[in-house]
Symmetry: C2
Subunit: 442 residues, 2 copies
């Protein structure tokens, strides 16, 4: 125990921890986390048994334990573009602002952008995320240092160009090989065909085969806008989910983001194939896609519906707690039902469903599971009164109510302190300014 | 200066304050607040001039100054019901949950509920609000103690019953008389006819005449649901705004909440009469009203559109910063326009437009105006990078980014500390539990 007696050592990991006196599902319990990061014991009298074993004791009286949140669709490094361009028409936004900036992006930018994103996610209670962008080896380095869990994919776009396809295949293989070499069980590679309208059928088929061969996830955008659905019907005489199905892209390895414009038949296909859907309500509202993901149809069809923030240039934050509220509100509003997507289901979307989608366990706080736990302050206005903790978490609080974040037994935030925060903020600010400067010089 | 040298004295008010080195509209300035709570000077070299005059100096380097936020529609004491009943059908929610609980409400409950609401509003940057509920003298006492600004009205409901009408008139007059006796320029009384469907035409006419006679605001719910619009047409052969106009209830003294189902003609009437509209997007989404307030029509008609959270039982918080994002997102989504309600207009809704509606000045940080100023931390993830501070405030940050709140020159929160927070949380918790207990005993 001596090695860990300094408080700052709690961030190192590899130590056993007793979370003492925490409120979990309405009961006050102690949670004992073993040095290998698993929940070893969880009961109303763990404290007596494990008090002397624990290298650290976290006094969690007045705190509520929840599973760590899971963000199933984002482009982490785009956090560098937060607030760079808003309130614009989609086409101008992309062609005049986002693409010209992204043309100057470097690996160093992606590294610091991902670090900033991880910092923001940790500070709002997220322990795992599903990312798609460029320079993903640099993103992987950043994630590795933060201690979070992530599924990382290179955004694969070929627009039917064979040369581009070959280079995207090479980039994808390089990333997967790099991630294997890291040998970090918290970081997984995935294949990331961007969307049915940016990736050729041949490439979609390659992605699907590669995902199966490597047994890795396939991360794709699906039916975000009405236009892409209509274009797909015009070009392929079928709807986007049918096209993906034809290219073997739909399976339990698939995580499909957005899914706003799916029809009922497509929802049934997704359910049958065991696809995981990432609902991204704030992004969908901001970009005015004008239809909310059909939650009830997907649920009825047995698809696993999860939650994601999308990237910061279309949200503009990564606070999954805020996203839970937006999801629960948007479903009710758009589908005209005041009982649709209640608080408990929303929290499950952001925790257990997300974990299942990314293949990181069942996302529950129970014996034998990875210790991915967040502690929420009970003693604040958003938690007062405490008629219903889950309702307060979903509807009343935001990510700032999170006090402590533990991932695989390693403390990533304690009393809202994340090691290295100052440096990440200042370096991310610098690379963002420099990136905008380089784009302006043209 | 001696009397105020203790840091805790900063909460007392009545002292001059220099806010040094704060970012305001892209420039670093100093703001000098005189002991009477007005902004006396504001420039890039105030510091040199006023450094020796100031009784307190707030080092605001790394902070952004904004006008204090204004919540133009809430039922503050309903914060006691936060999370008590969610995800229910409106009718069951009201008849099985809310009304049975409210039947047991006491003045003491409303006092602590309002204190809790004020605490939450201060902690998220709100300095002024427009409230409608019961036991409003107790609410007035609570507001007086917190130092906030408020317009307070007794919720007037007669359902066409003459006896009830007389008692509501008496309650309204009693409140107005009580508030006059307080002689607090920050607290104003208003008349609060609940809605066109709960208040008779005779009573609406009385409210309108009384509002004119006393020169006080008239606070009303208008066209929240489609059903009430259809009922009004069936009963009165006219739409709700036309009915209100006929009863002389529409003027520049009027603050109309919700306004989701107005048609274009009604928007023109509201604009012509100088009515202030309170947009309540989170509540409208949660209660599945299925239509968003027609912002563009109201704007075109010249109505003053402001922002409100509604009560905590239908939101479930009072964070106006979160509400700004919800407003900007909902308008874009529902009205299918990615450029509608941009960040700057949204911030103006929540500040200057709100102040104008409540009659508390112009809501801007300029010489001669009341010092209602909030300071936002620039050094946090939601503000990094700082491509666009206004975009970050509206889309990225929530109320927790607010570090300091000043209302009429009095510091209500400094470094996120509000005097008396612990007592308010524990007392509010106790009265909420007791209230639920009494309702269960029946």
């Amino acid at each position: 125990m001596n090695e860990y007696k300094e408080y700052s050592d709690i961030y190192r990991g590899g130590a056993s921890i007793l979370i003492a006196g925490v409120l979990l599902n309405g009961k006050t319990v102690d949670i004992f986390i073993s040095a290998d990061g698993k929940i070893e014991d969880l009961s109303e009298n763990t404290r007596t048994v494990h008090r002397s074993d624990a290298e650290f004791i976290i006094d969690a009286s007045g705190k509520i334990a929840l599973p760590g949140l899971v963000n199933t669709h984002t482009h982490a490094a785009m956090t560098l573009l937060r607030g760079y361009a808003d309130d614009m028409h989609l086409h101008e936004w992309l062609t005049e602002k986002i693409w010209p900036l992204e043309a100057h992006l470097t690996g160093e930018d992606v590294y610091w952008g991902t670090k900033l994103a991880c910092l923001e996610m940790i500070k709002s209670g997220t322990v795992a995320f599903n990312d798609m962008y460029f320079f993903m080896e640099d993103a992987a380095r950043a994630v590795d240092e933060t201690g979070m869990k992530a599924v990382l994919s290179h955004g694969f776009i070929d627009f039917g160009n064979e040369e581009k396809r070959d280079s995207e295949i090479a980039s994808t293989k390089k990333l997967i090989s790099y991630i294997k070499s890291m040998n970090n069980p918290r970081i997984k590679g995935a294949v990331g065909p961007h969307a049915p309208y940016t990736v050729s059928k041949d490439a979609l088929e390659w992605c699907s085969a590669y995902s199966e061969e490597e047994d890795i996830k396939l991360h794709i955008h699906l039916s975000e806008t009405e236009k892409e659905v209509n274009d797909c019907i015009n070009e392929h005489a079928m709807r986007p989910a049918e096209l993906l199905d034809k290219c073997n892209c739909l399976s339990s390895r698939t995580i499909a983001a957005h899914c706003c414009w799916l029809d009922e038949k497509e929802c049934r296909i997704l359910g049958k194939k065991g696809v995981h859907v990432s609902h991204n309500p704030a992004s969908n509202m901001k970009l005015a896609v004008n239809r909310a993901m059909p939650y009830q149809w997907l649920k009825d069809a047995g698809a696993n519906v999860t939650l994601g923030t999308d990237g910061c240039s279309s949200n503009n934050n990564l606070d999954l707690s805020e996203e839970m509220k937006t999801a629960a509100l948007l479903q009710k509003f758009y589908w005209n039902s005041d009982t649709l997507l209640p608080a408990g289901e929303t929290l499950a979307m952001a925790t257990s469903a997300g974990k299942k989608a990314l293949g990181f366990g069942n996302g529950r706080i129970e014996q034998g599971e990875a210790a991915d736990i967040i502690l929420i302050d009970r003693n604040c206005a958003c938690m007062t009164p405490l008629h219903n903790p889950v309702s307060n978490v979903v509807y009343s609080c935001n990510g700032n109510a999170v006090n402590t974040v533990i991932c695989d037994g390693r403390v990533l935030m304690s009393e809202r302190e994340v090691p290295g925060e100052e440096e990440i903020l200042s370096r991310a600010e610098m690379v963002a300014e420099s990136l905008v400067g380089r784009a302006k010089e043209e």
